[in-house]
Symmetry: C2
Subunit: 375 residues, 2 copies
């Protein structure tokens, strides 16, 4: 016999980790509106608006722009399984956790990942990338992470794409943490395939992954010799449902309510405007930096390529990582992020994303850390 289960009332939190970030209450409200059928004309109209708003956020005219009905990891997978076929070679730039996940994806497509490794916390080195491009004349694509959530590094997406294009490669970009937080220009930078997440700078609930594919990428998909290994993520099938206008073919049941939330989050971003949103992220980052440096915390990533939305600081010597984070959580309801992979125990990651990127959160975080570290 099972115990009686109570309805779940989450404790009050301020989410300043690597994501999910604090979700805007307006978005939570939209999320909970009554569910429509996934073929309802009113819902189809909403899908068209989501597509337009995503084109705005990504800065692209790509027709193949939509949210994948699953988290960012599935968005990543959708890009690789659609563009790659067994035997292909992809140059993957890694300077953190998520470049490594790209490698996994490439290999699981039966393709080869040629790795360009850089130190975690540093940028991808363009010279190393060019060496790899020269050494791999048959490379099909260059894949990299725009905003490395594991370190807080901004890779130079524009320069990497320009270089890749000089060697006739497709460009594949992880924009999970960058979309809505820092400049991103899909068309201007010649990005061929990009995926993001909803739970970072869009301040939406986790669970969806906006993606966009260029015309060149679409041609690659259309001229595949083999079927896409994933039925769920096969873009030709997905497009039957998300295609512009006309008849919508049932593929899978869309996560209707999550799409209400995404629409609301993109609408809020659109109303604020991309450049205002980027400026706000930058200003709050500076405010946080001033506060944290005042209590002796040091940033790991060079200021020239530091992400404003993901602030990685060293844990001071003698300070117990887990204890501090647990005090912050239990006494302040404040979540900050631990280090991932080789950085575990060495750093904290403090997120300033979307709705959560505001002065109130900055002050609260600085004050809480000041108190806890003074013990």
């Amino acid at each position: 016999m099972l115990a009686q289960f109570q309805t779940f009332i989450p404790p009050v939190r301020t989410l300043m980790g690597p994501g999910p970030s604090d979700v805007d209450p307006r978005i939570l409200n939209a999320l909970s509106r009554p569910t429509l059928g996934h073929l309802d004309p009113a819902f189809i109209q909403l899908m068209d608006e989501i597509k337009q708003l995503l084109q705005y956020a990504f800065k692209t005219d790509n027709q193949l722009t939509m949210p994948i009905s699953a988290p960012g990891s599935a968005g990543m997978e959708s890009v690789f399984v659609n563009l790659l076929e067994p035997g292909d070679k992809v140059i993957v730039c890694q300077n953190g956790v998520f470049g490594g996940r790209m490698q996994q994806n490439v290999e699981r497509c039966g393709a080869t990942a040629v790795m360009v490794q850089d130190t975690w916390g540093k940028q991808t080195d363009l010279n190393k990338l060019e060496d790899a491009l020269k050494a791999t004349p048959d490379a099909k694509a260059v894949a990299f992470v725009h905003a490395e959530t594991s370190t807080g590094v901004r890779n130079d997406a524009k320069a990497i794409c320009a270089l890749a294009k000089r060697y006739d490669c497709l460009t594949i970009v992880d924009a999970v943490t960058s979309l809505g937080g820092i400049e991103l220009d899909v068309d201007g930078w010649q990005i061929d395939a990009i995926y993001s997440g909803t739970q970072k700078c869009l301040s939406c609930v986790p669970g969806l992954s906006p993606v966009s594919f260029s015309q060149e990428a679409v041609e690659v998909i259309k001229s595949r010799k083999s079927k896409v290994q994933s039925w769920f993520l096969d873009m030709e099938l997905v497009m039957g449902y998300w295609g512009q206008g006309g008849k919508r073919a049932y593929h899978h049941t869309a996560p209707v309510n999550s799409l209400y939330a995404l629409h609301e989050s993109l609408r809020i971003l659109h109303n604020e405007g991309l450049s205002s949103a980027f400026l706000r992220h930058q200003e709050m980052h500076v405010a946080l930096k001033v506060g944290l440096e005042k209590i002796g915390l040091e940033f790991v990533v060079d200021q020239a390529y530091r992400l404003p939305q993901l602030n990685m600081v060293s844990i001071p010597q003698g300070v117990d990582d887990a204890q501090v984070r647990s005090q912050l959580l239990n006494e302040y309801g404040l979540e900050i992020g631990a280090g991932l992979g080789e950085l575990a125990g060495k750093v904290w990651r403090i997120g300033l994303m979307g709705y959560g990127c505001n002065k109130k959160n900055v002050d609260y975080c600085v004050n809480a850390l000041t108190s806890v570290l003074a013990r």
Copy 2:
């Protein structure tokens, strides 16, 4: 310049199609509670409860029981990509749309699907299945759909599994529309891998897929020679996060709010009790049947194996399918389902699922159809 976008207020609907079904307002309320981090101790505790509640709903002690962070189609894919390796053979029983989707999944794993075809609207024929088992001594698994959403047929899961087990096959079951609506006994029937959806008889929002794997299935996964082709759906990685107790390894960001909703929906099912829920579905089906037959609508599926939650009726001669459905939608806010595949234009599918399976909906649907068909 983009137009100003308005917040999306969905029109009022009654969802009596094949799903999503009407979502319980208590579940919509749970959905919109503030987001927690996916590693928050309070959220981890919720995950443990979800697992227990899913074990209750599936009637299983399987440790590997959890929701996949994506819709039912991804749940289906998770089962096939984890259990199959290239060269494997799977007997797939098809008597509707979703058996065909299983075939697609099997083939995209590099495996062979041996098809057992039956007429849409009839049950899978056990003799045909046994012939296929005899003719395919190296079959690894038998896969079938418990409740065919495209036709309203209940396949005899217990008998199919017993037969498959006599031939030493794994059993793979699509329970997208059956879970919570009709009897289902994962352990009692020796089901090795099962997937469902949240938007049918659980009355939850679409976007998650509860799955469960038997110990035998887990052994098959653990002894794989090749890596699972999907990183996102690799159960060994997923389990690092969903595993019982202990340390939770980050795999992907869980769809936190959707999981609040799933917890609430399972809690409601648990409070009602499985047998009461099944009885309610049966009683409402009978009430609907009486009402529909009074206006001359005929059920397609034999009563002996008709699903109470998915009622397929023939469209009377001379009646315009699209026009009727559009009148129901526009004048009554009532959604019923069209026919799929070879049944398009020939049938309607009327759902009575979970929260939406109530006398009010039955009366409303019968009255609306009565009025519209009398024109």
